[in-house]
Each structure stands twice: as structure tokens, then as C-alpha cells.
Amino acid sequence: MAEPKTLGQMLEARGISRRAFLKYTSYLASSMALGSVAAKAMAENLASARRQSVIWLSFQECTGCTESFTRSVSPTLEELIFDFISLDYHHTLQAASGEAAEEARHIAMRENKGKYVVVVDGSIPTKLDGAYSTIAGISNLQMLEETVKDAAAVIAVGTCAAYGGIPAAAPNPTGAVGVDQLVTDKAIINIPGCPPIPEAMTGTISYILSFGKLPELDHLKRPIAYFGDNIHDRCYRRPFYERGLFAKSFDDEGARKGWCLYEVGCKGPITYNACATLKWNGGISFPIQSGHGCLGCSEPNFWDKGGFYKPLPAPIRDIGKVAAGAAVAGAAAGVVSAAVGRAKKKSAMKEGKS
């Protein structure tokens, strides 16, 4: 059996020049804030890399992450990079179905034991022993445990896989959780977002292929290269925030003039993602540029933070009723205090002490 071709050999066979490949790795390296030396090392390592076996597990999800990944208007070369990942199991993209699909997963696990990467999108339901979501007769919970057992690393793609996502929204009827709440003995990378930026996914995978290690991660296990800055700090509308110029609604003069969306609930200041720099659809735009505030979709519990249109300084709990209750209680306590004072005065006057 012939030795599997390296990425470099396959690119060459497809007519991709070394120059074009170097340009691509330079782009990838710069997107991850790596230097020119790293870009060269990335090119060399990536060129000599063999196809990485990837098993993609889709659980409680909407397929938005896969849609984002596959519909990205990224460079052709980037799509080729994706080709060179041996995607051995993916419900949406694989041709096989039923038992043949499951067999493909088992073969990939067996042949690449300890070397394959598991990509998960979607949360994992844990209530009723995971009965809320099953594939091929087993629960997502069982499939995850079974598949990650011999994996080299796990990449949780999308906010559902990273933190539980929309399925985990209160009251979380299925007991949905993210991967790292279940898998504690494997290297895990979270690439959250609803959906995540395609380049954050491809860039992270390329980094692992190039350097054989995980990129630097933040406290939420996200690659710092893509999740190191908050949207607010990189937002082109930031000068309007500094000048105190805000859109008060989505169709007022401020909105038309492109002023800051902070007052209409933008969560940019507390959201870490590369939307404002890498943008979407090949760098064309991102939500704030399209006129809508950031929802904070790459942060845990973004759906339960008091509302997408509630500005950050606003309390997320009902204050009005509590304050009214406190005012009534305070008034009652005040009346009682005053009554006690009056009774004391009356008593003192009776005793002739006043």
C-alpha cells in the first residue's frame, strides 16, 4: 500500500504553487497574530503533514455551524486545506448513511487510535440518561464517551458544544451541557459562536496540524488568536461611543448615521470574538456593521442575560416590583418606628419625665 501523500504533495498535484501556499500560511499566521518565522514553520509543517482524521459529531444543534463552515467565502486554498482533513464521519456531509456511516466512524477510530481529532457541534443532553437525542440507537452522551476515548483532542465548535448553547437556555429541559462539562481527560478547544467564524475553525485546525499542539487558549479554552479581544475594542463604531453618540433605536437618525449601538443592547464590550476584524462572508461585514448590536454569541449563557436589547448597565432582574415592595416595607417600618417613639413619649409624659 502506497504511503499516504503529504499535504504539500497533494497541493502540488492540484496545481497549487508553493508561493500561493506560503501566502496562505502567512494569512493564517497573521490571523493568529503569529510572526513571519512562525508562518514559514507553519508552511513547512503543514506541507509535510498527513491527512488528519477528523470525526465530526453533531448533537443537539441546528447545523448552523456546519453551514457556516461550508458556506464560507474563504480562499480556495483554504477549502483545499479542508479537503486534506480526512473527514471520516459527519452526518450532513458524508455520503454514507445508517450502519455504513457508523461503521466509518468505528473504522476511523480503530485505524487512527490516539491520533484522530473529534469535532463536536451541538450540546449534549444529559437528562433521562441522554434520551432526548439519540443517533444510531445510542444517546449523544454514549457516542461522545465512546468516540473521545481514543481521541488526540476535541474541538467543540459553536456555542452549543462549548457551553450548552440555546438548548441549555433556562429552564434547560434536556439538561444540555457543553463538551468540557463531560470530557475532563482530553485536550479541549472551544471555538464558540452562533455560528463560529469559519476562519477561526480552519485556522485552529491548521495550527494543530502545523505545530502538533494546541494554540494558546483563554480561560474559556478559546484560541486567544481569535478570542483575545472584545468586539467593542475592535469595533469601527467605537469613536461614537467615546463621543457619547448612540443610536436610540434601529431606525432613528443615530442608527442611519452609524452611531454606537450600546444603548440598543449591543454586547460588544463583554464579547470576545474576531467578528470586528475577520468579519463574515469573506470579510464583507459583521452584525454591527449590518446595523444590529452584538448578541454576545461567543459567551456562555448569552441567551439568558436579560435580553438582547437590554443595554449592559441595565439590571437584568426586575427592580420595579422589588423596589416598590421595599418602599412599602420601609414605610411600614418607619410608621412602626414613629409609633414606638410616640408611645415612649406618651409614657414619659405620663410619668412626668417630659
Partner: protein, 220 residues
């Protein structure tokens, strides 16, 4: 640290505002309904109506008597500086306007951040000078209680944490914002029970003083 921010924006703010409202209403109602000794003296001739005297006294005490002006120059000017500074910061910073809007539905124009930063800086310096004066003056130091120092801490902390949060200095923004909101929660809780209550009582005490002094003495 979004969990800390959720806690600050959620239960902490709700609890502290409830304590604030309860405490303020309790103190004001109990004070207004407390038994009072009726002033049985005959009021001096030419005395103004009590309400007018009360309002006049409130404004008159905003500046010292000319004979004391020189001696009290520092405390007067410094007091004005940090009171006006705090008022501008609280009422004219855009996120604060949003906070009040979320509570009351009322809104008003905000000032640019650069103005707020400048005012914030001056306010911090002024508050530090106020503490220095308290510590360096033997008389002030003698009559100062724990209340004075706690009040100073819960007043300056939100200004410092607010400046840090607004300028994204030090920690991550969400952590700074959470700390800032929690420091305001501490202020809310302390407010009704410490000297910050003068924010409400100043109207009553000065007014009462004006009404009483208005009756006394003889017409000149």
C-alpha cells in the same frame, strides 16, 4: 468573568436597591412621623413663613458666612468640587443615563466620555484631598468616626472602578464592569445607614434649622 457580571447585574443590584429603598423610606418616614416637641415660643415679629425660611436656609448654607469664608475656603471649594463632580458623573455619563432609564423610563442627553474622564479625575483628587484634610486636622480627626471612613471608601470606590471600567484599564472589561457595579451595590447598601443619607436629610435638616431660626430672636 461573565458569571460575576451576571451576579452583579442580577441579584446583587436587585438586593442592594431593595435595601437602599427600604432604608431611605424607613429613615425618612420614621423621622417625619417622630414625635416632636412643639415650639411654644412666640415667633418674632416679621418672621417669614416657615416654608420660605426653610428653603432660604437651604440655599444660604451652600456658602459660608463671609466672616468664616477664609478659614473654611478649602472645605468649601473642595466640597463643591467633589459634589458637583459626583453629580456630573452620576447623571451625565451615558451608561448611567441608561441605568436610570431602565429604572425610571426617563432619559436625558449624556456628555462625551472625555469630559466624564476629566471630571472623574478631578473628583478622585478632590476626594483624596478631603480625606487628607480629615486626617491632618486634629479636630476633624478627633470627631471622625468609622462612618466617615466607610462613607469615603464607598464613595470613591465606584468612581475609581468606573474610571477603570470605562477606560478598559487593568482587568477585562466584564470583570471591571462587574466590580464597578458591585461597588455601587455596596454604596446602595451603606447609603441609608451612614452619612451618605445626608443626600436626603440635607433638605430636612437645613429646612428645619431655617424654620426654627426664623422664629427666634427679635426683629432687627
Amino acid at each position: 468573568m461573565t458569571d460575576l457580571l451576571d451576579f452583579a447585574r442580577g441579584p446583587a443590584l436587585q438586593f442592594s436597591l431593595a435595601v437602599f429603598v427600604f432604608g431611605v423610606v424607613w429613615r425618612l418616614v420614621s423621622l417625619l412621623f417622630m414625635p416632636r416637641l412643639k415650639d411654644k415660643s412666640v415667633k418674632r415679629s416679621g418672621a417669614k413663613p416657615a416654608l420660605i425660611a426653610a428653603v432660604a436656609e437651604f440655599f444660604r448654607r451652600m456658602l459660608p458666612k463671609p466672616e468664616f469664608a477664609k478659614r473654611t475656603r478649602f472645605t468649601t471649594i473642595n466640597g463643591w468640587v467633589f459634589h458637583v463632580g459626583l453629580t456630573i458623573i452620576i447623571l451625565a455619563f451615558a451608561p448611567h443615563v441608561l441605568f436610570f432609564k431602565s429604572l425610571t423610563g426617563l432619559t436625558w442627553p449624556a456628555l462625551p466620555n472625555i469630559v466624564i474622564f476629566a471630571v472623574g479625575g478631578v473628583t478622585v483628587v478632590s476626594l483624596i484631598l478631603a480625606l487628607s484634610h480629615r486626617l491632618s486636622s486634629p479636630v476633624l480627626k478627633l470627631i471622625s468616626t468609622l462612618d466617615d471612613y466607610v462613607t469615603w471608601i464607598v464613595t470613591i470606590t465606584p468612581v475609581l472602578t468606573g474610571l477603570a471600567a470605562a477606560s478598559h484599564v487593568g482587568l477585562r472589561y466584564e470583570t471591571l464592569l462587574a466590580i464597578h457595579i458591585l461597588s455601587i451595590c455596596a454604596l446602595f447598601v451603606w447609603f441609608p445607614f451612614g452619612k451618605l443619607m445626608h443626600g436626603f436629610l440635607v433638605f430636612l435638616t437645613r429646612g428645619e434649622m431655617g424654620a426654627q431660626l426664623n422664629r427666634r430672636g427679635i426683629e432687627l
